[in-house]
């Protein structure tokens, strides 16, 4: 997958300016950056849900923004996506959620679907939870079910949107390991969008750091850990203040307080 | 199992809806009278039909024997031309029968009442009723009452 000169605006605000990315096949690539830098938007661009203002997005040789609806849908059948919230269908139980893409896109017999769904659920360790409704699952379990659903059609690539956000340490550990093992076992191409540095760095083969609509730095986790850039240093080591200011842009503190007193 | 249950309930719902339509059509509306119109046609001329409507009943001795199927204005005589459909089993009405427009109750709907005559030949399809009596128009009636009263009172008032 290649991205060249990608630009995207929302209203007046530029979300991306001339972004270039290369995502190699069979590897785990992570795109990291502080909240609000448009990481989710990037995934939606890759999945063809929104179109860029300019630039090239090529997935497996196909130019995503130029695809017709039918071709796009064919491409998406080979892409799995794990949403931040899990996005399980609340009116279906775990089994039917995982079976959903199989039932929509294949004409397999119910027997075969049963087997396939149990295999996917086994892979995420939730075979025993197949009768539960999404509301009965914990956040971590819901995300694992969503992961099982994302790989139900044996896609060539999986997009993860903030897979670790809001998880307790144990679920985080489970998910980190799952993403890595699934990637290697199923020969997937994985793209993780996240701001959880430690977990992401632990499993990613290659990292891109995104800030203010541009790629600030990229490299393997080890390379980035040693980066001389103060920004990368702040982000990778989670320092509260640095080039990324702790304060939201505001007028000078003193003048604002004094102004209030005067008024 | 659950799907079966669902289908059963939905089936019952659709059946209930259709049954309601059927009830409305058969029990509430005039469908029972549609298609029964095999009666013979007779016309009658009236000076004024008041509030007579198409489908108003035609009765004889209080028994409904047909209904009004057409109301037109004769452009030459400016009379109302009312077409009646009379059920075929009443085919022995004397040809000099008379028709009047009556009102059910004080403010009820208007209908046509027939009064049998004494002739030996009978009304046939396309025939006409010669003797008619127009509707009582309430406004005219009241108007006349007032003029009568005024005429009666006028002398008494002058000393």
């Amino acid at each position: 997958m290649t991205v060249r000169g990608l630009s995207f605006h929302r209203g007046e605000r530029a979300i991306f300016r001339e972004v270039d990315l290369d995502i190699p096949r069979g590897k785990v690539t992570a795109i990291m950056g502080p909240s609000g830098t448009g990481k989710t938007t990037l995934l939606r661009l890759l999945g063809g849900q929104i179109r860029p203002d300019a630039g090239l997005i090529e997935v497996d040789g196909l130019r995503v923004p130029e695809l017709g609806r039918l071709e796009l849908y064919q491409l998406r059948q080979r892409m799995g996506m794990l949403f931040q919230s899990g996005a399980l269908f609340t009116d279906l139980n775990v089994f039917d959620n995982v079976a959903f893409p199989l039932r929509e896109h294949t004409r397999l017999s119910e027997n075969l679907i049963h087997t396939l769904v149990l295999m996917k659920l086994e892979a995420v360790g939730l075979r025993g939870a197949r009768e539960l409704m999404p509301a009965e699952l914990s956040g971590g379990m819901a995300r694992r079910v969503a992961l099982a659903r994302a790989i139900a059609l044996d896609p060539m690539m999986v997009l993860y949107d903030e897979p670790f956000a809001g998880q307790d340490p144990i679920s985080m550990g489970v998910l980190t390991q799952l993403i890595r093992t699934l990637n290697d076992a199923l020969c997937l191409t994985s793209i993780i969008v996240s701001h959880d540095v430690k977990e992401t760095a632990a499993i990613a083969d290659y990292l891109y750091l995104l800030s203010d609509g541009q790629i600030v730095e990229h490299g393997t986790p080890a390379e980035l850990g040693r980066s001389p850039s103060p920004w990368v240093d702040q982000f990778m080591h989670a320092r509260p203040d640095g080039p990324m200011s702790f304060h939201y842009p505001a007028p000078a503190y003193e003048s604002e307080l004094l102004l209030r007193d005067a008024a | 199992m659950r799907q079966k249950h669902l289908e059963l309930l939905v089936g019952a719902f659709v059946a209930l809806g259709l049954a309601a339509f059927l009830l409305l059509a058969l029990k509430v509306s005039d469908i029972a009278h549609i298609g029964e119109d095999q009666g013979y046609r007779v016309t009658a001329r009236f000076e004024n039909i008041g509030g007579l409507k198409i489908r108003a009943p035609v009765t004889l001795g209080g028994v409904r024997i047909g209904r009004v199927v057409g109301i037109n204005l004769d452009p030459n005589t400016f009379e109302a031309l009312v077409t009646l459909s009379i059920e075929p089993q009443y085919d022995r009405l004397p040809s000099d029968s008379s028709a009047s427009i009556l009102t059910a109750g004080l403010l009820g709907e208007q209908y046509i009442g027939l009064e049998p005559g004494g002739m030996d030949d009978f009304l046939k399809n396309g025939g006409s009723l010669k003797l008619t009596q127009s509707a009582l128009v309430l406004e005219k009636l009241i108007g006349r009452m007032f003029t009568n009263a005024a005429q009666g009172e006028a002398p008494a008032k002058t000393p």
Partner: protein, 261 residues
């Protein structure tokens, strides 16, 4: 600073573009209906949700409205000695106006608001987006079955409401107040016309209201802001807009069908 005129202009433009989006939405919805031929099972589930589950409120309301019509009609007609026309009064009010209008209003409150909330929440929880990413068109899979189910359910519910209402009127008039049963039905049958009254009232009106109610409910849900406030606003909006559209539409339809101008 914006003057009142600018605000009015902006408001009008916003309304117009929303109307345009609503029309495109309806077109996509109609375009997606073909999908249901392959998956009739989806329709059954939605018919249950909007039809079967709306039955209790429709049955109870219909019965009470009919009974009230019977009581009020009797109280007024008895002065003119015209209680035998009670059947006509009850049936014509229900068939021409109250049946289709009240059913549509009750439907908007009971099923329309639920549809909006459901779609709005599916959007807020990214279920629609995830469906798209699974290469499943939410219009075909989620919206079209709900639309068609509602479109079928409203006329059926209207017929049920009207029929139950007339039975309610019968109960009060004939069983309770002693109006002659034969006159009740005979007068009704003499005055209620199959096509002009039942066709126009129960069928044409309810089909138009079904279109309005479901279109508005689904559109509001689909356009809802993906937050809890957005969904609650959209739900309220559905009930308000549907009620206004149904009442306004009813006036237009009545003027066209039974109008005397």
């Amino acid at each position: 600073m914006t003057g009142p005129l600018e605000r009015l202009g902006r408001w009008a433009l916003e309304r117009l573009t929303a109307l345009g989006r609503a029309n495109l939405f309806l077109l996509r919805l109609l375009g997606a209906l073909g999908f249901l031929l392959r998956r009739p099972g989806l329709l059954v589930k939605q018919l249950y949700a909007v039809g079967v589950l709306s039955l209790p409120i429709i049955l109870v309301s219909g019965l009470f409205v009919g009974m009230v019509l019977g009581l009020q009609g009797y109280a007024n007609l008895v002065y003119f000695g015209a209680t035998s026309s009670l059947g006509t009064v009850v049936a014509l009010s229900l068939v021409r106006e109250l049946g289709p209008v009240l059913t549509a209003l009750l439907y908007a409150g009971r099923a329309g608001s639920a549809l909006t909330a459901e779609i709005g929440l599916m959007k807020a929880t990214e279920q629609l987006a995830s469906m798209q990413m699974m290469a499943v068109d939410p219009f075909a899979r989620v919206l079209a079955p709900r639309f068609l189910a509602g479109f079928v359910a409203v006329p059926l519910l209207t017929a049920i409401f009207t029929a139950v209402g007339i039975l309610g009127g019968y109960l009060v008039a004939v069983v309770q107040l002693g109006v002659d049963g034969g006159a009740f039905w005979a007068q009704m049958q003499a005055r209620v016309l199959l096509w002009e009254d039942i066709g126009n009232g129960v069928i044409v009106k309810s089909v138009v209201f079904a279109l309005l109610a479901n279109w508005i409910a689904l559109f509001e849900g689909y356009e809802a802001h993906p937050t809890s406030e957005g969904v609650s606003l959209a739900t309220t909006q559905t009930v308000v807009v549907t009620s206004l559209a149904v009442l306004g539409g009813d006036f237009l339809l009545t003027a066209l069908m039974f109008g005397v101008w």
